[in-house]
Every structure is written in C-alpha cells, then in structure tokens.
Subunit: 200 residues, 2 copies
C-alpha cells in the first residue's frame, strides 16, 4: 500500500499533472496545500524538502521527489502498467519528446502567458503567447493523425501536456485554430477518473 503525500498548489498546472495521474492510477494520497502567492514554497523549511522552492513535491514513504516531470515518470514506473511509459527505447523516447514540449513551449509559452495575466508575473506576454502557439501547432500536427501524443494509448506524455493547454485561455491564447488539439482535450476529459483542475 502506497503512503503518498503531495505538496500542492491548487492553481498550479504542474501540480494538476500529478493530481490527474494519481487519480487515473487510483492512488490515494494526502494533499498538503501551500499558498504560493504568500510565498509558502520559499520558506527555509520547505526548501529543505525541495531546494528549488517549488511544488509539486511527492513524498512516498521516505522518498522525496520534486519536479512534476520526474514525479510523472516515478509514478508511471512504480505504480502503473508500462503503457503509461513504455520500457522499450523507442517507446520511451516518444514519450520523452512530448515531455520536452511540455517543459518548453507549453511551460515557457502557455503557462508563463497565464502566469503573467493571472498572477502578475513579469513575463513578456507576447513572446510567451508566441512560444505557446508554436507548441500548439506542433501538437495540432501530431494530433491530426493520432489520438494520443506518444503511443496508441494515453501515456504520461498526454498528462504532461494537457493541463497548460486546457488553461490556454487564461493566458489569452485561443485554441480555435487547433481543432485536433480541442478534440484531444475532450478525449483526455473522457478518460476514467479524470478530475477537473479545480473541484467545483
């Protein structure tokens, strides 16, 4: 039986990636909410847990794992069937390509555009929106010919990319030019044990 604890900020898309996968894998966990607006991830006490001063952080027994991408890989390898993260070199590589997009165009494009508008962060909104649209174009191309990003089935690649795409409007990036991306959002939301970003 897993003994999992998630340090979480409800309005973080990176935390949402982890909450989604935990739900889809049917894993119970204790949730510890921090208020990032109040700087609660930047205290000395929390930096002993994660020196980067960021959430999410997953604690599994006596293991501490920081970083959303690393946590997705950990959960998939430790608790999931290999279709969530294949073990063959090419299958794993295909997932890694989309994890990279999630960390680049989506995080430094879409998520930062949202952070500029929602949290007042000092990012260059136009540049972020432009990076985000570049990422969406790459997703659109792939999802025009495939239901899922990295395999014939859902994988952690989809879970990593979904949150900031689904929140694109909060960064004033319209998804209207990306119909295949919109259809894919619907497929993710139709998966068993999908959970909304913020519970109603």
């Amino acid at each position: 039986m897993a003994d999992l604890k998630l340090y979480n900020f409800p309005r973080s898309g990176n935390c949402y990636k982890v909450r989604l996968l935990l739900s889809m894998l049917g894993l119970d966990y204790e949730r510890v909410d921090l208020d990032l607006i109040k700087g609660e991830s930047l205290t000395e006490a929390f930096k002993r847990i994660n020196p980067r001063g960021q959430v999410p952080v997953l604690v599994d027994g006596d293991l501490v794992i920081w970083d959303s991408m690393a946590i997705l890989v950990y959960l998939a390898r430790r608790y999931a069937a290999s279709d969530w993260l294949p073990t063959d070199p090419l299958g794993e590589t295909r997932v890694m390509q989309w994890l990279a997009v999630s960390e680049n165009e989506l995080l430094y494009g879409l998520a930062r555009a949202r952070a500029a508008l929602v949290f007042g962060k000092p990012f260059d909104l136009k540049l972020c929106q432009q990076d985000g649209r570049a990422g969406l174009s790459v997703l659109e191309l792939k999802l025009s010919e495939s239901d899922w990003l990295a395999a014939d089935n859902v994988s952690i690649a989809d879970i990593a990319c979904y949150p900031y795409v689904s929140l694109a409007a909060e960064g004033e990036v319209s998804l209207q030019p990306y119909p295949a991306v919109c259809a894919w959002l619907g497929r993710v939301e139709g998966l068993p044990d999908w959970v909304p970003f913020l519970p109603g």
Copy 2:
C-alpha cells in the same frame, strides 16, 4: 552497427549535449551542420524532419528523433550501459529531476541569457540571469555532497546540465560563487572522450 546522422548547429548547447554523449559512447555519426542564424532550421524541408524547426535531430536508420532530452534518453537506452540511465524507478527518477532542471533553470535561465547576449535574442537578460543563478544554487547544493548529479557515477543528467553551465560566462553569469559546480565541470571535462564545445 549504428547508422547515425545528427542535424547540428555548432554553437548550440543543446546540440553539444548530444555530441558529448555520442563521443563518450564511442558512436560514429554523420554530422549535418545547419546555420540557425540564417534560418536553415525553419525551412519547410527541415520542418518535415522536425516540426518544431529546431536542432538537434538524430536520425538512426529510419527513425527520426527530435529534442535533445529525448535524444539523450534514446542513446542511453539503445546504446549504453544502464548506469547512464538507470532502469529502476527511483534511479530513473533521479535522472529525470536533473533533466528537468536542464530544461528549466538552465535552458530558460543560462541558455537564454547567453542567447540574448550572443545572438541578440529578445529575452529579458536580468530575469534569465536570475533564473540561471537559481539553477546554479540547486546544482551547488547537490554537488557539495556528491560528485555527480543523479547517481554515484556520471549519467545523462550530468551531460544534460553541463553544456549551458560551462557556457554561463557567455550570458554574463559568473560561476565564482559556485565552487562545487566548478569542480564538477572539471570532472566532466576529465571523462574519457569528452570533447570541447567548439573544436579548436
């Protein structure tokens, strides 16, 4: 026998990650240099190879793999001993944590500060330098207690983080406050088959 081709830009730190690992694994490859300054990665022909319009891209027989992080994972899984990328969940996760740092604080901090100064890119220099220093502090903390980032030995975590740290001065970020990082740079440079960023 591998039949490898690397689409490369000599002055790209992301390409250098791949050149380093190919060398250390003793893999021969054909190198196709593109001039990114002239926009040679943004042509329609190249975008059919990589829709993101970026290098590096690795071609292995009939496989095309884009993204530096994905290529490191591919080469490690396909051609290297498992110490370069462990197969156990926790060992793999520890590597992923530092791949995430390489994609975040180092790429969007150090590499963008360098791109602003060297290539005249429109990035906020002070913000990039600040992000880069945050990454260096996290590396310093880890490397004060460990020779390598993710394991008792060199792994692709070190190869992913090394290039933009070694190029930090080009973004006017001094490494003087980070002695453990400097010692680690020396350890990487002392590895068999290390190659310099630009051949002399």
